[in-house]
Structure formats: structure tokens, C-alpha cells
């Protein structure tokens, strides 16, 4: 994002977490409320990024391990003659998907709770900031009209 920009910028999805990072604009005269909002958003972004990066990495890793162990059990090589990576079809992967989901169930429940709380808080702060800005603008308008 350019240095002179006065708004937030959002980037392409992160490779690991699939979340889009946001670079927040910090205005020169940031009010306490605005600072709280920005910090809440940054904190949520960091937390989300940590969670999903770790989660997705674990998924891919465990998936590879599963494929490897299944292929070994079947007595197949990891790569066939053409050099292509041998894969399992969807039905064979189903056991892995079920297993992975149940293993991470509690983790997801915790994350859901946190995410909902953060989301509500951020949106509420956004509402407060917007309200304050609107009132300020109205007052400014009134002052200009009186002059």
C-alpha cells in the first residue's frame, strides 16, 4: 500500500491461512476509541492467522501421513511408474476426514466462541466510531452554517 494512503489496505489470501491480511491506516489524530478499534482488529487478525495457519498446516501434514500409511499398508509405492504421486480416492480419504474433524472438534468450538466474541466487539466498536464521526461531522456542518 502506498505511503500517502489514508485507508486500510487488504492483500491477497495468505498461503497458509487463506486469510487476507489487512494493513491498517493510523491517522495522525487517532482518538482513543479509534485506537481501540484498530487494536481489536489487529489482534483478531493475528489470532485468526495463527489459528488457521497452524490448523491448515496440520491438516496437510496429517493428510500426507495418512496417504503414506495407507499406501504402505496396501503395499504400493509412493510414486507410480510415470513419477506421479499416488493418491487415494475420495472414499479412502473419508476415514481421514472423519477422524480429523472429530480430533479438532473441541479446538473448533473454542475458536468459534472466540471468533464470535471478537467479531461482535469489532463491529460494535465500528458502530461507535461511525456514530462519533457522524456527530462530529454534523456539528461541523452546523458551525459552518452559522458562520
Amino acid at each position: 500500500p502506498p505511503a500517502h494512503s489514508r485507508s486500510d489496505w487488504i492483500g491477497p489470501p495468505d498461503r497458509l491461512s487463506n486469510l487476507r491480511p489487512v494493513v491498517f491506516y493510523v491517522p495522525a489524530q487517532e482518538s482513543a476509541l479509534e485506537r481501540r478499534l484498530r487494536e481489536a482488529r489487529q489482534e483478531a487478525q493475528a489470532s485468526n492467522q495463527r489459528f488457521w495457519a497452524r490448523h491448515n498446516r496440520a491438516f496437510h501434514q496429517e493428510k500426507e501421513e495418512f496417504i503414506y500409511s495407507r499406501l504402505k499398508a496396501k503395499g504400493l509405492e509412493l510414486r507410480d511408474e510415470s513419477g506421479q504421486k499416488a493418491t487415494l480416492n475420495a472414499e479412502e480419504m473419508a476415514d481421514f476426514y472423519k477422524d480429523f474433524l472429530s480430533k479438532n472438534f473441541k479446538k473448533h468450538l473454542q475458536y468459534n466462541r472466540d471468533w464470535y466474541k471478537r467479531n461482535f466487539r469489532i463491529t460494535f466498536l465500528m458502530g461507535q466510531v461511525a456514530l462519533v464521526r457522524a456527530l462530529r461531522w454534523l456539528r461541523w456542518r452546523k458551525k459552518n452554517a452559522e458562520q
Binding site: G11, P12, P13, N18, R20, H60, T87, H108, L109, I122
Partner: protein, 440 residues
Amino acid sequence: GLFVWRLRKTGVPQIPCQFVHLYHVPNNRLITFQYFNFLKRMYVTQCNKDLSQQAKPKSDSIVSPFHELQQLDQEKKVVHKISPVSPVHQLGTKTSSRNGLRELKSAAETEDSVIPVGAESKEDRQWKEMKLRLDDLPGILARLSKIKLTALVVSTTSAGFAMAPVPFELTCFLLASLGTGLASCAANSINQFFEVPFDSNMNRTKNRPLVRGQISPLLAVCFAAACGIPGIALLALGVNPLTGALGAFNIFLYTCCYTPLKRMSIANTWVGAVVGAIPPIMGWTAATGSLDAGALLLGGILYSWQFPHFNALSWGLREDYSRGGYCMMSVTHPGLCRRVALRHCLALIGLSAVAPVLDITTWTFPIISLPINLYISYLGFRFYRDADRSSSRKLFFCSLWHLPMLLLVMFTCKKSVLEKEDKGDLPGGSHETAMEIRLP
């Protein structure tokens, strides 16, 4: 959708892909854009092999994770080299230089050099200013409210309205449709508001407006309120309180029950089926003002239809659901998934037979609808027995044309109001009297 846009860019003939639009069916929010993108994916791979890179069916993605892992390792090495330089300073922003953010940006930047550009377009890889542009707003709001799905929900409501055994009134019909449409927009917006990080991680939903930062969460909530409150008010005051109550209840059910439940228990599918069943009931109550057996039957038909439709669809999305943390039958209880789908296909036959008993249709309806009901039940049985991708796809695509056809046949077999008047079922025979009673 995004896929159609890409197709246009590469000059692929659109005609086969426009079949997608023909197969739109009354649907509930449960399905969302899943089926829509899923359909497109199917057609894209058939249309043009070159595009298959962008639109491979999910099973092929098994190959990519290893590739990704390799790249991850490379990335880690590159990230170590880049972080001392700190791109934050290069950009000259005043943001707090938290490590997490630095790594993020390094990762984002390095991936451009390390990994060849994949299926995403060049535009996708750029940083975008998070400023709302007014001329983009209609498109953004349309995607936020899942406007196409809303249109299908409204058509289900119209079906319910049309099947009600009362003379047709245009104003009531329009008000009910508009109110339902607004309520659906509100519910869909709140759903997207709740699901941002999850949508980012699933292929079919990663291009939603909130995920892409095109709109702020605050605006999404305000839009939802701006649609929902007038929508419900319109239904409650302009149509009748019962329809308004049903609309409000449905919004609540979808946003506060179904959406969180998706990540907690497989019961979400049943709740979602109810969400889909309510719009036709609303159409019926809008016309008649009361909750008759006919309304419940129509709701029941749509409720049963959801299961073969959704269970078949979810069969192909198991990987995304598993990684995303969604509790779906297809992942956790695959046997149950297929059993339920079959059970409800058979239930459709039964429900169709009940229609004439309740005086909604003539006896020709169960007879004419029997072939299509038997066919979907047959496909349901095949899905139950084979439990593979091809049987799930066949069942899914059948469900897409099955419902509109069933509703059409039902409408043509509708027991005419005149017949009922002859039998003295309707108080007051003339059309005008009925209209007078209807005035709000």
C-alpha cells in the same frame, strides 16, 4: 459469479455453461452458493480442458497439498531471509510492526516469487484499498445477500402462494414476495457476517465480499437490518402478522440456529431443511392467512427435498468441510447421510400421495409425479448402495430439476377454486366478495 466472468475472458463458448441458470430451483439458504459453483465447476471441466486447472473437482486436489508442503518449506527459508529487511519500513506505513504482520506480508510477497501464479488471477494477488466505491456497491450487496439464492427462495414462496386455494391477488402476492426477498437478503448477509474466516478457507466461498474486504462488517450488519426490518414489517403489516412472524422466525432460525450449529453438530442439516421449508408455508399463509394442512404439506415436501439435495452435494465437499471444521453428516456419519437421503426421497412419494387427500390437488398429481419421484428414489437408492462420487452427483443433479418439475405438476393439478365453491367449501362464491374480505 466469478467463474462465468473468467469464462467470458477466455472466450469459451458460454452456451453449455448457461445451462446452470436453467437449473435454478427453489432452494433454501442451506445450500448457498455451494451447488451453484459446484455446477459451474462441472460444466467448466466439460467445456474446456484448459480451464480445468481452475475448476478441478475436489478429488484432484489431493495432489496439490504435497506441492504446497514443498512450497511451505521453501517459504519458511525465504521468510527467515526477508524478515530482517522488514518490508514494513519499505512500505512506509505507520502500522505497528508486529511480527505476525511482517511475516504475513513477507509470506504474501515471497509467494509471488517462489510459487508460480496458480488459478487466481493477477488482480487477486494485488493489494486493494479498503475503500467503498459507490458504483461497486450494488454488485457487492447482491453478492452479500446471495441475490440468486434469494430469488429462488422467493420463487418457492410464490409456489406456496399459488397453491393456496384462494383467488389470486396481485398486491398480496407482490408484497409477500418482496417481504420474503428482503428477509432472505437480511438472513444471508448475517450468515456471511458470521462466517468470514471459514468462508476464506473454503473454495466455493472464498470470493465473498466480506472475505475480500470489499465491505466492512458494520455495513453488512446495517444492510441486513435495512433489509430485514422493512421486510418483516412489510410482511407483518402489509400481508398478515402470521407471515411476518414466520419470516422473523426463519431469519432467527437461519442466522442464530443453523449458522452456529453448522460447526457444532450434524443436527444443522435438519434445522436447515426447516429453514427451506418455511418460505412456501409463508407463501401459503400470505394468501390464506392461516396455517392449513396444505401449507404444512407443501413445507413437508420442501423439507424432504432438502435431504437428497444437500446430502448428495455434501458428499463431494468432504475435504473442505473436514478442514473447515463443519459438522456434516457426509463427513461424520456417512452411512446416516445416505440413509436419510434415501428415506426422504421415498417420503416425497408419500407426501405427493397425501396432496389430493387434503384437497390441494386432484388425484392426477400423485400419478403424474410418480415417475419423477420414483426416479429420484432410484437414484437415492443407488447413492445409498454405491456411496461414490458419481452416484452422489447424479442424485444432486436430479434434485435440481426434480423440484421445479414437481411444483409445476402440482400447480397444474391444483384443485381449482371453482370446484371447491361448487361443493360449498368456500364461504361466498363471488370473486369480488373474496377480494373484499382480503383487504388489509
